[in-house]
Every structure is written in C-alpha cells, then in structure tokens.
Amino acid sequence: MAVLEIDDDTALVAPVAKRRKLGGLFLCAVAWILLIGLAAVFAAFLPIASPTDMDMLGKRAPPSAAHWLGTDSLGRDMLSRLIYGARVSLTVGLLSSVIGVTVGGALGMLAGYFRGRLETFTVGGVDVLLAFPPLVFLLAVLAYLGQTVLNITLVIGVLSIPAFTRVARAVTLSLSEREFVVAARALGATHSRILLRELLPNVSLPLVAFFLLGVAVTIVVEGALSFLGLGVPPPAPSWGSMIAEGRESLDIAPWLAFLPAGTMFITVLAFNIVGDTLRALTDPRPGAL
C-alpha cells in the first residue's frame, strides 16, 4: 500500500526551535532563583556570620571585608540576614503556593470535570473565601494562633486556594469538551483515569505557570506582613522586617532598607519572568491543537 505523507522533516525540527525562544532573561531569572534557593537551603553551612550576632561597635557599618554587605542598626551581618531572610520568604512563598496549587487545583479539576452540585458548592465556597477581606483574615488567625512560619504559610496558602481553583476549573471546563475526553470514556476509562492521565497533564502546565506567579505574590505578601510586624517575630530575620528596621535609618545608612528591598524585588521579578515565560509557552498551544 502506498501511503506517503511527508512530514518527517517538520516534525523533527520543531522541538529544537522551541528551546531557542526562552532567551537570556529567562536564564538569568532561573539562575537567580537557584542562587537564592541554594543559599537559603545551605545557609547553615556557608562561611557567613550568624544572623543574630550583634557587633555593637560596628553598627550600620558600610560594606567591608568582614561584613560584605555591611551591618544593620544592631551590628548584625546584612548578608547573613538576607540569606536567612530568604529562608522565610521562600518557605512561605513556595509552601503556601504548594498548598494553593494542590488543594485549589484538585478542587478546580473536580468541579470542572464533574460539574453539577459539586461545582456549585466549590464555586460558592471559593467566592466566599474571595469576598472575605484577606488582611483581616490574616491578622485574626495570626493573632490567635501565633506568628510562626507554619501559621503564616498555612493562612496564605488557604487564601491562595481560590485563584488556583478558578484557573484549574476554567482549564478543565474547556478541556472536558474536547473529544479526547469523550474518546477516553468511549474506550472505557474510569473517571480517575481521565482526571489523572488525560486532564492533569493538560491542566498542569498553566497551573505551574500560575504557581510561579503565585510564589512571587506570596513573597510580597509575606514581606508586607513582616513589614507590619506580623511576620516571623524578631530576632529571626525576614526581608520585610529588615526593610521596616532599615526605614528608621534611611538618611544615614540607606542600604539597610534598599538591600532587602532590592533582593525581594529581584526575586519577585525572577519568579514573574519564569512564570510569564512558561505561560507564554503554553498559551499559543490551544490555538495550534
């Protein structure tokens, strides 16, 4: 039988072209996230001063060989505090987004796939959570349960569920209409199989992109909480509380506020760039399918 369809060439070239689109900015962003992440994870093993040791004779010292980024108003090493502060920011940022993406993603997929009453309840619950003023919720919970990293993570995580639910539900709704889902059912696939094997791979790409944007937002939220004194209690360092402390000496030692602010800015920007790039990669695909 003569079956000739010549598309080998195009098919083999395609994956190479895609890699080139990522660009230098994306790589810089990934490198920065890796740098911050590794420093935070291995902070205890790095040859840096303790973040809480005070050097009362060297308060607000400019950068020097002993203190690469200077010291703060209590003589504590800024570099060390930045790295330990990254621990808090990244832990809260990543973990609370993980909570949001798993709970919200699961709820959204179930609601979008099964529809009916489950969807009504999920969407209703999500709307209630969205309508609740988030800052009031945060203040109330943290005031009662205490300002620990775990509590902050949990509360921000719960608050991020609605957004993920909506994204997951919207994507699942449009995918469930596709014939490959009907085809899978026509082949006798179970609901769980369709959800996990057919839909999840499709939903996960937009969710991962949204997850990274969520991390960026959460880092800012944690910073704002710490700035307001509602984050991890002192003396544990956090970028937000460092900015708050540095604010008092902006005129004599501006780096005390600008260093943590800059670090947070670059980190948030990096997560946004990575998230945006991934989103851009996934966006044109539905049109091409």
């Binding site: 369809e5 598309d7 098919a11 529809r115 490959f180 026509a186 082949l187 499709n202």
Partner: protein, 331 residues
Amino acid sequence: MTNPPLLSVEGVSVELPTPRGQLLAVDKVDLEVAAGRTLGVVGESGCGKTMLSRAILQLLPKKAALSGRIMFDGQDMVQLSPEALRRLRGPSLAVVFQNPMTSLNPVLTIGTQLIETLQAHMGMAAPAAAKRGIELLAAVGIPAPEQRLRQYPHQLSGGMRQRVAIAIALSCEPKLLIADEPTTALDVTVQAQILDLLAREQQRRHMAMILITHDLGVVAGRTDEVAVMYAGRVVERAPTTTLFSHMRMPYTAALLAAIPKLDSPPHTALPAIAGRPPDPTRPLRGCSFAPRCSRADDRCQAAKPPLDTADHIGGQYACWHPLQPAAVARA
C-alpha cells in the same frame, strides 16, 4: 441474516433540553447491525446522526433523556450499570471521531495513549504493549511506527492523526466500531485512504461497523446497508445496492443529486436542497421533509408517514409519495 444482530437499536429517542424547549434529536429510530457487517448512517448536519451514535455508546450529555432499547450482544446498554458499561467500552465497542485534531490528547505522546489503552484493557505488560502498538501503527499504514510512538499529536498531519485514532480504537479488538464522520475533517485524497483502511480492517477483523457520514458517496461502495436520517428519524433504510438502484424517498434522491459530479459541465449550478431542516424544538405534524419536498401535498402536511417495508426487497422508506424507481433520474 440468520444469526441475531450484534447491535439492535429499538425505538430509540433522545430528547435534549434547550432554552427554547425540548429538542427531539433522535425520534424513534430502529437499526440493526450484524457482526461483520457495515451500516452507513447518512444525513445532513443536525439530523441526529451524532446523537444516535452517542446514544449507542451511552455517552450522551447528562441532561439528555433517552428512551428505547439498545441491545448489544444480548445486553440492554440502557440498563447496564456504569461499571458494566465501562468494561464493555473498548473491548466491545470503540469509536473514531470526526476531528483527529481534538480526539487525541495534545500533551501525551502517541505511544503513551496507544500503549496505555493496551495495558489497561488487554492486560499487557509494557514491552508487549509497546510491540503491539508498533504493529497496530504499521497496520493502519503509518510509516516508521517506532519513531511515531515518541511523537506528540501536533507533530503529525491530520490524516496521520486519524490513523492513530483508528489504531487506538482497534487496539482492543472491538466487536463494533462506530466511525462518526471519520473523514469529514480530512483532505479528499486522505479521505479515500482512511475509508479504505477502515473497510480493510473491518473485513480482516470481521468487525461490525457503523459509518456515520453526510456524504452518500462515502457509503456507496463501503457499506452493506444504509439508513438515511432526516430531522431525527430514519426516513429510508435499504441494502446499499438496493438503495442506489431503487431510491424511494425524495430526500435521499435530493441528497444524491446534491453531490457534485465529475461529468457535469463547468459552472453548472449544483442542485441544492432548498430551505432548511425543520426546527427540532417544534416538530411538524406531518412529514418533516414536506416543506422542502417538491412532491408534498396536503396529506404530507397532515400526517407523518411511517417507516414502511417497501414493495422491493429489504428496503424501508417513510414517504406517502415515494419515487418510482424510474423517476429517480428526474428528482
């Protein structure tokens, strides 16, 4: 036909709720398909062909109301539990959809989709399933199947994707394959290849097949029996050769006349069927084709013609004023 039919659809109706009222998508349809035979279901867009196929597969939208019996291999599909139904699909019943662009999962490789089906239904181990997957892809005429297994649907052409979809449908050795407009989204040259492929596999596997299409030309050489649907009803049903030689229903004749012919001179106007199908939310009292039919009279407006056994062998038609075999040419 001596042995009982593999599939018999008895008085099946499908009603869909719409904002404009109940829509009668399928109206008391009776069909039969014996093992190893091919039935063509022909009709224009919106005549209920797809809803009928979804009813047979029990994959109707949740809101749809189904009545009637669908006997498959001695079991009433309508009464089966969801679990029993699920086990029936795949190994017994499979389907090929119209659009191969959307019927394959875009983010999984061809291999994953094909091999997982084999593992799930045939209980094959991964290496055996991979080997069988390559065989299946080769059987549906895909060159270099080993490489195709690692590719994603978007890396294949439309015809290739439809071949993959057919390979997946055939992977569980179904007894009945429903092909729902399998070639509508494809190039004309590829259409013939896909239809030949379906016919060949149907013959080789002694599988029953329902070929749903809007093109009478598609069913002409490739089916044993044809059912013509209009506005949710079967309006003519006959063995394929009888249908084309002794066409009785004016609608069927009009459909046939609407196919462009190679031997007609250039710039000839194509005889299209005037008007549109009736609004399915407001069923007509009489024959649903009457408003568009040149032979319609008062009787056609007043009463629905039943699907009667015709005077010739094996055919049935629903018309008060059937065409005489000689009159087909003029219609």
